[in-house]
């Protein structure tokens, strides 16, 4: 049988507000002594009253606006009830039927370079839990993270490959960084990813009757691997006429497999009900307009503007806008070097020489470029053509590189140098080769 993967995604993004979601404890918990950022509210002590952090809610709405969501004028918080030691109150304050943002979309690139729209079901606000560490037959709990603002972004099951999922995750990470609402640092757990995957026979329209959710992944690469693994695992079951269990699984990096965690609890097990301690939220249109007017230029708009305004290739523009501060640095350099350097020269230097913008001022960079452009140089188009030829004629080395044997790049650099027959900066060649090799 031929199947297509049906994939949806839930992403939790931790906001970098100063204080927690419902109390004034510091939300900057990373690396701090355990249980030093707590109070009656985030420890769930009886009688404590949660009061929502206005900034966190505004940031949640900014994320929603960036994802083209509707912002309903009324909203509320709900209690999601379950017992787990990292949840002091016995419930998490979350949002159930009236999230702050809903019905949005975002565009991603597919493998064949087409633009595809992914539906955003909802973007809602909730609180993080404490941190558990397991030690043999006991678990230790640190509540510093308990109550840190968390935004959950849920997509429609619109992805058809792990490639599309990866495109989406990169975009989402870029957007929250542009909005300056989260560091989105995977290693610190600022972004946690939960893909849900099922397979459908090609040609069918209805969604499959089951879905497998993979919990709490903290790396884009693991998402990719776990999706690949699930597609294979589920296909084998379906080919044997078995329907995969509806369940939650976890990614085991050591064994490169997903393993079952528990049969998925039904949503009504959480016995959601309106949070009685927090009055409802009603916006007037002007407040939403005001938040909208504070939105920075978003990555997609910046990309289009860079291509047009600075006549950059989409490839170069894409690299420059990846990080908002690099984009700003580039624009400053273009402005300050008007008439002396071309936009392209600046873009090429920043990209090919991997300039660390924190360690060199715009002014010094311009001086350096002017200075070095007097040395022997090479036309960029010519160099690009030569590297293309070298890659084409050395397929074996290219394959080896892509299989992880990165040292073969030195061989490829040698081949390029031979063809050019000029003394030019190895780093430039290396970066061009790397970019081309990693691009596929």
């Amino acid at each position: 049988m031929n199947y297509e993967p049906i994939i949806g995604l839930e992403v939790h993004v931790e906001l970098k507000t100063k204080s927690k979601m419902f109390c004034g404890c510091s939300a900057d918990y990373f690396g701090n002594k355990p249980n030093t950022h707590t109070c009656p509210t985030c420890l769930g002590l009886p009688g404590a009253l949660p009061v929502p952090n206005k900034t966190a809610i505004e940031w949640c709405i900014k994320i929603g606006i960036a994802l083209n969501c509707e912002i309903p004028l009324t909203s509320k918080f709900d209690r999601k009830n379950y017992f787990y030691p990292d949840l002091a109150k016995g419930y998490q304050i979350s949002q159930y039927d009236q999230p702050f943002c809903q019905n949005g979309w975002i565009e991603v690139l597919t493998e064949d370079n087409k633009i595809k729209r992914i539906g955003i079901t909802r973007v809602h606000m909730e609180e993080d839990t404490g941190k558990l560490s397991h030690k043999g037959n006991v678990s230790l709990i640190d509540f510093n993270r308990s109550g840190v603002p968390l935004v959950e972004i849920v997509t429609e099951p619109d992805f058809r490959s792990s490639f599309e999922v990866n495109q989406y995750l990169q975009k989402l990470q870029q957007i929250v960084r542009y909005l300056n609402v989260s560091n989105a640092d995977m290693e610190k757990g600022d972004m946690r990813l939960e893909p849900n995957i099922s397979l459908r026979i090609i040609g069918e329209i209805e969604l499959p009757k089951y879905k497998v959710e993979i919990k709490n992944i903290n790396s884009f690469r693991f998402v990719d691997k776990s999706i690949q693994f699930e597609i294979k695992r589920q296909r084998e079951l379906l080919d044997k006429n078995e329907i995969p269990l509806q369940e939650t699984r976890g990614w085991e990096e050591l064994k490169q497999i997903t393993i079952s965690q528990r049969i998925k609890e039904k949503a009504n097990d959480y016995r959601y009900f309106p949070e009685p301690d927090i009055p409802p939220i009603e916006w007037d249109k002007l407040q939403i307009d005001k938040i909208t007017s504070q939105m920075p230029e978003l990555p997609n708009d910046k990309l289009i503007r860079f291509e047009k305004e600075y006549q950059l290739s989409s490839y170069n523009a894409e690299i420059l806008i990846r990080d908002a501060s690099l984009a700003a640095y580039f624009e400053k350099a273009v402005f300050q070097s008007k008439g002396v350097l071309s936009q392209k020269q600046i873009a090429n230097t920043l990209i090919n020489k991997k300039i660390n913008i924190l360690s060199i001022s715009v002014k010094d960079l311009i001086k350096d470029i002017i200075h070095s452009s007097k040395k022997e140089g090479i036309d960029e188009i010519e160099l690009s053509k030569i590297t293309d030829d070298v890659l084409k004629n050395n397929q074996k080395a290219v394959d080896e590189f892509r299989n992880g044997k990165e040292v073969v790049i030195m061989f490829l650099i040698g081949q390029v140098m031979k063809s050019i027959n000029k003394k030019i900066d190895i780093e430039i060649i290396k970066n061009i080769l790397k970019n081309k090799l990693n691009k596929k």
């Binding site: 507000t17 100063k18 204080s19 109390c23 004034g24 404890c25 510091s26 002594k33 355990p34 249980n35 030093t36 950022h37 707590t38 109070c39 420890l43 009061v51 929502p52 952090n53 206005k54 900034t55 966190a56 809610i57 509320k76 009830n81 017992f83 787990y84 030691p85 016995g90 558990l132 560490s133 397991h134 030690k135 043999g136 037959n137 006991v138 678990s139 230790l140 709990i141 640190d142 509540f143 976890g250 085991e252 393993i259 965690q261 528990r262 097990d269 016995r271 009900f273 309106p274 009685p276 927090i278 009055p279 409802p280 939220i281 009603e282």
Partner: protein, 95 residues
């Protein structure tokens, strides 16, 4: 009204119950439900669903840090701690 599943409710509420208490609580809970059921007799046509009665809305706080407990204060009520953390019996881990 179907019979309630007392074992499931106890499990969700994280309350261990022996059979005797299960029967007792089941009876009491049913009684409560029947009593609440009488609300169904009230005509609520045209009434808006209500989940808040204070009349308040938009109660927020600014994003300002206030003083937290010290570690000693945070742990003071706990009978079981280790290395500045609350200690509980191990809960189901990944394996």
């Amino acid at each position: 009204m179907s019979k309630i599943d007392i074992s499931r409710i106890a499990k969700l509420a994280n309350i261990p119950l022996d059979d005797e208490n299960k029967n007792k609580l089941e009876e009491q809970l049913l009684e409560t439900i029947y009593y609440i059921e009488s609300l169904q007799e009230i005509n609520t046509d045209g009434k808006e669903p209500t989940n808040q009665v204070t009349g308040l809305k938009n109660i927020f706080r600014e994003d300002i840090i206030s003083k937290s407990f010290s570690q000693e204060e945070a742990l003071r009520n706990s009978s079981c701690t280790e290395k500045g953390m609350f200690k509980v019996k191990a809960i189901l881990s990944s394996d």
